[in-house]
Amino acid sequence: MIRPRLIPVLLIDQRKLIKTFQFKDEIYLGDPMNTVRIFNEKYADELSIIDRSAWKKSIDFDFLGSLASEAFMPLSYGGGIKSLADAEKLFRSGFEKLILCSMLFESPSTIREIAKCFGSQSVVVQINVKKSFFGSLMVYDHRNGKNVKALDENFIKSILDLEIGELILNFVDRDGSANGIDTKVIESFSKICSVPLIASGGIGNLDQIKEAFKAGASAIAGSRFFCLQGPHKAPLIKYPNDKEILSLVNREVI
């Protein structure tokens, strides 16, 4: 029985937890340490921590080490990872997987190096996806806010060549919207993706999650679904229970 993977993403900035909307507007959610503890109590099977402030500065190892010490589940980390040394330090700090995004633009060969040195299974690449003015899928560079190239089969294949473990397609337009994921895109890319594909951006309810799995996603990642409730976006942490999780793929609770 394959248990569906639901991954809450905690976006932090200067040690504060925030939630963005289409990568533009944002609200303050609270203390990341406390949030990790709440996810412990909700029995979240895994968490992703993304530190936005690490992009321009450096990785906040002290804080991340403390955060990892609070977590009773496996963790992934993304934000400002630049080298093999960064990777090693993060693994020693208590993270199981690394999420690489800027490195794809800056130094893709380092991605391959990290995968070779620490194992593919610990390397996740995230592609931020945005639709162009004409409606075609583009790879979005969060560092400068520009669409840089077409998201197509060739691009995916070039990333898979780096021997990574998992791929996240994060839909910028749907970020924080709760409008659901783009099932057609997930369907077509899951067919050509030889590693687990994680659908991210737009998750608002369990039905949408179910659709994502049906479309071929191996896992879903989200923030709003797990951290905000209702149309007024009130901060409240939730994580589906066992019955709800297993119902996503029509499996019965044993």
Partner: protein, 205 residues
């Protein structure tokens, strides 16, 4: 409540183990030297990375004989992940000599299903093979988080307390009297890990 020490081989963050034990009402501290190790009534040996590197650090800390004697004396010793494999004589992963507390060797995972990739990384279920008092908080069907490429193969198969399947059936926990080893990471397995530590701490006190 026993004075629990967690051997710090400086390869991983012990924070989650310490905090989970605290959450269970226990108290554990990181041990970085022989003197501190001697004062412990119960020892936890975690481990991440390679067999040879871990044994090298144990030798550097000068606690190899101490750990072997501790285990042989009947004092509670718990090996987690690589820590469990260090309890054995050797590993296919390297050339170092293990602690030899539980006769056996660590072998490479070779799942018969080629779609399963090694290392085994993710949540998997355990089933009870030979019940052990230190694992009374667990039952068949409980799941834990695993990250490993090698598994423990004790000479005496009756020492296999829990089994898990990953393209092959392997020992997810082994036990010999008061020495226990678990292949999974209880500190990363939320409620299942808490159940494990609760009953383990009760058993050793």
């Amino acid at each position: 409540m026993k004075n629990v020490g967690i051997i710090d081989l400086q390869v991983s963050n012990l924070g989650s183990v310490i905090n989970m034990i605290k959450k269970c009402g226990g108290d554990a501290k990181a041990i970085t030297n022989y003197t501190d190790a001697k004062s412990c009534e119960a020892i936890i040996l975690p481990g991440v990375g390679s067999f040879d590197e871990a044994m090298k650090r144990i030798d550097q800390m000068g606690i190899r004989t101490f750990l072997a004697d501790f285990g042989a004396s009947g004092s509670p010793l718990l090996g987690i992940c690589l820590g469990m494999q260090l309890l054995l004589n050797s590993s296919e992963e390297g050339n170092a000599i293990g602690l030899g507390i539980i006769p056996g060797t660590a072998k490479k995972l070779k799942p018969t299903d080629t779609s399963l990739k090694v290392p085994h990384m993710g949540w998997s279920e355990v089933s009870v093979k030979n019940p052990h008092k230190g694992l009374s908080g667990l039952k068949s069907g409980d799941r834990f988080y695993f990250v490993h490429s090698y598994f423990a193969s004790p000479d005496n198969k009756e020492m296999i307390t829990l089994e898990t399947n990953f393209g092959q059936t392997f020992a997810s926990a082994i036990g010999k009297d008061n020495v226990l080893g678990v292949q999974f990471h209880p500190e990363k397995s939320h409620r299942f890990g808490l159940s494990f530590f609760k009953s383990y701490l009760e058993w050793i006190s």
